[in-house]
């Protein structure tokens, strides 16, 4: 039987080489394009009517918009609305990646650490630049809060520095591990169904429940990724 991590293999669809780098168009890239196209179509076509009383599709698009807008307003504040377009894009990209990955025989690009780490590093570098642009060198106060005794700097500064630098790793690994583990679990349970024959109805029922849970986790992880980005942005703008 195939190993449960076989499903994460990246295959090139359109081989392409740039110098000594392999920049082939892969199944991962195909899913990313699909997610971007679907998200764009969903948000633009459903808002085309622009009616005061929203229809079904417009209602769904407005829920997505309001959800992220409220998240930014509550967690970052009014100044944060400047960065709202980026955060909505981030949310929709991760959400569509997670949900499209749950379609059987498709590919979840969020289950690759290369993708999630790239997203997390963009957030991390962006937040750091915003912090330094707004506060100048005063932003270094992040690592040593005002009013703390000078002697505690020996312990406080390294701890704060490590916790600040580990942000992109925890952000990336959380999303990556959640999606990978979910898909491995589904695959292993699917293997039980096939192996047990008629008695496989028991794991099949369990599999149905797990699939529902995976849909919930797909949405939850997109939410968590965005809200943690919001909290980091809040730290950069308001400094604790």
């Amino acid at each position: 039987m195939e190993s449960p991590i076989e499903q994460f293999r990246i295959e090139s669809i359109l081989p392409l080489h740039l110098g000594k780098y392999d920049v082939s168009f892969t199944n991962s890239g195909l899913m990313m394009v699909a997610a971007v196209v679907l998200a764009t179509l969903f948000l633009t076509l459903s808002m085309r009517a622009r009616s005061v009383v929203p229809g079904r599709w417009q209602g769904a698009a407005e829920v997505c918009y309001e959800f992220v807008a409220n998240m930014v307003r509550d967690n970052v504040g009014k100044e944060g609305m400047k960065y709202f377009p980026f955060l909505l894009t981030l949310f929709m990209f991760v959400l569509f990646g997670n949900l499209l990955g749950l379609i059987p025989y498709s590919f979840a690009y969020t289950s690759h650490i290369a993708v999630t780490f790239a997203l997390a590093v963009v957030v991390f570098i962006g937040v750091t630049i915003i912090g330094f642009a707004r506060h100048g060198t005063h932003y270094l106060r992040m690592f040593f809060p005002e009013g703390a005794p000078l002697l505690t700097a020996v312990i406080l500064v390294p701890i704060e520095l490590i916790s600040y630098l580990s942000r992109p790793f925890s952000l990336a690994v959380r999303l990556f591990a959640n999606m990978t583990v979910g898909h491995i679990l589904l695959k292993v349970m699917g293997g039980f169904v096939v192996m047990l024959g008629v008695a496989g109805i028991v794991p099949l029922a369990f599999l149905g429940g797990i699939t529902v849970l995976e849909f919930f986790i797909a949405v939850l992880q997109a939410y968590v990724f965005t809200i943690l980005s919001c909290i980091y942005l809040h730290d950069a703008i308001h400094m604790h």
Binding site: S3, I5, D74, S170, V173, R174, A177, N178, T180, V181, I184, L220, Q221, Y223, V224, I227, L228, I231
Partner: protein, 74 residues
């Protein structure tokens, strides 16, 4: 020791790290439920922190899991 057996034992040992995360997530939900039970009006304001705390604590379990998976399949 047989290297394949050692690999499996190592993966099992790495997964022990999830115990702490399990206790942590249980603590978060138990205090959240207690809070909402005592003051149902606070539900909307504490729910958000519950989910964030859950996600942050769960990440520790996932780090252990990634180590275990790396030992098994890496």
């Amino acid at each position: 020791m047989d290297p394949i057996a050692a690999k499996s034992i190592g993966a099992g040992l790495a997964a022990i790290g999830m115990i702490g995360s399990g206790i942590g997530v249980g603590n978060i939900w138990s205090s959240l439920i207690a809070t909402v039970g005592r003051n149902p009006a606070a539900k909307s304001s504490v729910e958000l922190y519950g989910w964030i705390g859950f996600a942050v604590t769960e990440a520790i379990a996932l780090f252990a899991l990634v180590v275990a998976l790396m030992l098994l399949f890496g």
